[in-house]
């Protein structure tokens, strides 16, 4: 080995990347992917929050039913109420039955009619709230029959229609969320595709040399894919982390509001954005998905671009 080589040994073992990093993409793609991932994670998290809320509401309704005793000409409303209560308490599957006092029933109308009205002249129906231990169709049919026999002016409301509407709303939110997610991912793929095309075009001379020294398209595509997987993962992590942080902060913020307000008014106003563990896992999965979509998008773009090079 000559003296100058000894002074200046070759860069063995640690070779420069075949495609210079600075020739691939700038920070703009990273920012675009981070923003897209943030929106995707926000969508996934919001859908999860909506689902949690609707499931909670549905859970509340699932064990509850209501009997409405309507005033009728020639009938004693209080007696009818007692008959309906007795029929309900005797019915199988009913664990608890409680009649709303007259004042409470009238109070339920306040949001619509206002306060300070004399409701004595109005035919205000009375309500019985039922807690069900077994909500089978058979038990509901038996209760309905018992009521029709003893109190014809009583109506059993099993909240089926409301529960059905909640299910429909939950499904619609999920579909809407998926549609937004698909659009965000499509926009991500298009951004990556443009960036990849630019990167391949910018490295056209290098790509040609690689071809001439025997590199196949898959080898070249792997180089670009590795790079864009890295960019995608980094961008998606940034976007996903900010979204997750936002959900965590909103939970913390709603607790502070509740503490200051002293009741659930804040949650009523702003809604609860608290996310469960599954929601955070879904955000993590979204981050990985965005990174994978980025890598696959760049690979396919490289293949299609390489067809025009050589």
């Amino acid at each position: 080995m000559s003296e100058s080589e000894a002074r200046n040994p070759a860069r063995f073992g640690k070779q420069a990347p075949i495609l210079p990093r600075e020739s691939m993409t700038g920070r703009s793609l990273l920012a675009v992917i981070a923003i897209m991932s943030f929106l995707a994670a926000l969508t996934v998290g919001s859908v999860r929050v909506a689902k949690i809320s609707t499931e909670e509401w549905r859970g509340d309704l699932s064990n509850e039913m209501t009997i409405q005793v309507k005033p009728a000409d020639g009938r004693d409303l209080e007696a009818d109420l007692q008959k309906a209560l007795t029929a309900a308490q005797k019915s199988p599957g009913v664990s608890d039955a409680r009649a709303y006092p007259k004042e409470e029933s009238e109070k339920l109308l306040e949001p619509w009619l206002g306060t300070g009205l004399d409701l004595k002249s109005l035919p205000v129906p009375r309500l019985i709230r039922l807690q069900m231990s077994d909500r089978s169709e058979k038990n509901i049919a038996a209760l309905r029959y018992a009521l029709s026999q003893s109190v014809p002016n009583a109506v059993l409301n099993d909240h089926h229609a409301f529960s059905g509407r909640l299910t429909a709303i939950s499904r619609a939110i999920s579909i809407f969320g998926l549609a937004i997610l698909a659009l965000v991912l499509l926009a991500t793929v298009l951004s990556v595709s443009f960036a990849t095309r630019g990167a391949v075009a910018g490295n056209r001379a290098t790509v040609e040399v690689l071809h001439f020294v025997g590199a196949g398209d898959s080898y070249i595509a792997n180089i670009f894919q590795r790079h864009f997987l890295g960019v995608g993962l980094k961008g998606a992590l940034i976007g996903g982390a900010i979204a997750a942080l936002l959900f965590a902060l909103s939970r913390f913020a709603s607790r502070i509001f509740n503490f200051i307000a002293g009741d659930g008014d804040a949650a009523f106003l702003f809604g609860s954005l608290s996310l469960d563990m599954r929601g955070y896992l879904e955000i993590t999965a979204t981050v990985l998905f965005v990174a994978i979509v980025t890598a696959i998008g760049s690979r396919l773009t490289v293949y299609s671009t390489l067809r025009n090079i050589d």
Binding site: A10, A16, I18, V209, H211, F212, G214, D217
Partner: protein, 259 residues
């Protein structure tokens, strides 16, 4: 002793030993290097090429290149030399005719097969086509790297070849700071490092002085002797005069054969 050392030791022996077939005239098929029964590395049969709807830039080109042969490809500018080389590099497809490389129909090669064929060919470009962000060592090692070999397995080989072309002290140099001659030698070393069966060189002495051109020619001759078929495209008549080898002459898109 490595192959490169062997070549170096025999460097002074410039006795011509080509097996070219006898003279052929325009329109006749030319087989360079051996007789018809041998395997041909390259075979062109009535190849024509046109770009888009333009006129034919190559017309009825027919020739073969046999293993262990040496020939020059020459002709005036605009005669179609670059187009013919691009066909040989597999970066163009002919408009008509048949091209086979290593007995494979070049027009029917899939992308991965093209890469496999190119690994058997060493290519030296007139404009070097070195990667400016890689050192001389990394540029020469590129074919090994692309082939997926571990760096430790080819390190000695690359260093030895770079020393042999006189760049043993420029291993870490980046191409932008090298002279034209040094770049040319790196480009040649990169083409030779995988010991190709066929070497295609486009004006390999275009950027070097006469003594180095002579030395490079000697290298190509020795390569031929060690089993590599060599096709050199050049305008350099004095260079061609230094070695008695068949000349493929392109003129106005047609191929002539001159001994």
């Amino acid at each position: 002793m490595s192959k490169f050392k062997e070549v170096a030791l025999r460097g002074s022996q410039l006795a011509a030993s080509n097996n070219a077939a006898g003279a052929a005239k325009f329109g006749k098929r030319v087989h360079l290097g051996a007789n018809d029964s041998e395997v041909r590395l390259i075979r062109f049969e009535n190849v024509g090429l046109r770009y888009g709807q333009g006129p034919e830039v190559l017309k009825d080109i027919s020739f073969s290149v046999m293993p262990n042969s040496f020939q020059f490809l020459t002709g005036p500018s605009g005669a179609g030399k670059t187009s013919l080389l691009r066909l040989l590099f597999l970066s163009l497809r002919p408009t008509r005719g048949l091209i086979t490389l290593f007995d494979r129909d070049a027009t029917r090669l899939a992308s991965n097969e093209i890469a496999a064929v190119r690994r058997r060919i060493g290519i030296v470009f007139q404009d070097f086509r070195l990667l400016d962000h890689l050192t001389a060592y990394e540029n020469v090692a590129l074919p090994f790297r692309v082939a997926g070999r571990e760096e430790a397995s080819y390190r000695a080989e690359v260093v030895e070849l770079l020393r042999w072309v006189g760049l043993g002290e420029r291993l870490n140099a980046l191409p932008p700071i090298l002279s034209g001659g040094e770049k040319q030698r790196i480009a040649i070393a990169r083409a030779l490092i995988v010991r190709p069966e066929l070497l295609l060189a486009d004006e390999p002495t275009g950027n070097v002085d006469a003594p180095l051109a002579k030395r490079l020619l000697r290298l190509f001759v020795e390569l031929k002797k060690s089993g590599t078929a060599v096709l050199i495209a050049t305008h350099d008549v004095p260079l061609m005069d230094q070695y008695d080898a068949p000349r493929l002459v392109l003129n106005d898109g047609r191929l002539y054969y001159d001994r």
